[in-house]
Symmetry: C2
Subunit: 185 residues, 2 copies
DNA sequence: CCAATAGGATACGGTGCCGTATTGATACGC
DNA sequence: GCGTATCAATACGGCACCGTATCCTATTGG
């Protein structure tokens, strides 16, 4: 735990909210239960946010920031497109393994909430753009680069989806090979 | 509306529950709101189910039935594996377009609920098995058939995910071509 | 046509959560 | 050290939903 100090900050509440989202969607972002897991009463929550909605917005914004362009900077900086793509794929396959609860997947359950839809669209777009650019730099014509990126990203999302429900070890190595064979050329 | 008769049945409640799930996950399965949309009061609900949990279980079971082996029967009956695969892909790409709320996606938000996890695993397994079998019949060695099926199915799931948040017309034709180019050989 | 029964209406108590005071404690600038 | 801002505890009213109990109505089979 990083939060070993005595008092809580707005950030702490936002992080707790994200953890709650990963576990049970927006419905799990409830002030009183969150306060209980944080070891305080809800009274102090309203010192940081005006209401539950503000907390949700803050948490979603934080997520979009760290998972959009910001989270992609490391990969975007790789000059060689082939290596960049390889890095992206292996990073994904590695991150697919752990049963780490995924905010992204949980948000699918709340995709009707306009804020959620916005934020998910943002993150998806950032990733799709990077992938599309990469495929273009690899020589694919624009149109094909775009649809190829779309299918590849879709596969990535789907794999993380399957990893959450399937208990069978997805055998990262095998999957990485398969994904590489399919999406690298 | 099919339900033009006067009185409601347990099935009607289950269908309404599924619609609610597609719209807002398990949290949206609430007796009183459902009763309101059905034009009755909740008093009559308890003539069909003992409690909310029983309704949820019934709805999930119904979904698993229609989306597992039962829903795949039509495709499983196609003898030629190449044609079967093509049919599967085009069916998917076509179904990806409409913004039809998807129960499957909404359930991702509630994947921690053991009942949900079970039912999603069931459906995924049925589809993965069919795909794996198809790839084997196309000549792939068992191991590769399995991981190929996994990636292909992941792409399918991911495409339906993207279709829900992206307003850009996913250009079914383009996607179908791309998917075919990637997953057919 | 008349029970018996399945579906429906109303009303009630209980629970969990939201948001608002209000008051108390603790850090920190000065 | 002292006050001021910030975090925290307690207590309250309100709302939405669950589940039960009770009574009502309309089919429907005989």
């Amino acid at each position: 735990m990083v939060t070993e100090s005595t008092r809580l900050s707005a950030q702490d509440w936002a992080k707790a909210a994200l953890k709650a989202i990963a576990g049970g969607g927006l419905a799990a972002v409830a002030v009183e239960p969150l306060a209980r897991t944080l070891g305080v009463t809800k009274g102090s929550f309203y010192a940081h946010y005006r209401n539950r909605d503000e907390l949700i917005t803050a948490a979603l914004t934080e997520w979009a920031r760290t998972h959009g362009d910001a989270g992609l900077a490391h990969f975007a900086a790789i000059a060689d497109p082939a290596e960049r793509l390889r890095e992206l794929l292996t990073a994904v396959v590695r991150s697919v393994q752990p049963l780490a609860p995924s905010v992204h997947l949980s948000l699918l359950g709340d995709r009707n909430d306009p804020r959620v839809k916005d934020v998910v669209r943002q993150v998806n777009r950032a990733r799709l753009d990077l992938l599309t650019r990469t495929y273009r730099e690899l020589g694919l014509p624009p149109k094909r680069a775009e649809s190829r990126a779309r299918v590849a990203y879709a596969a990535i999302l789907g794999l993380s989806h399957l990893a959450q429900t399937d208990p069978d070890a997805p055998r990262a190595a095998v999957l990485a090979d398969e994904a590489a064979a399919i999406f690298l050329p």
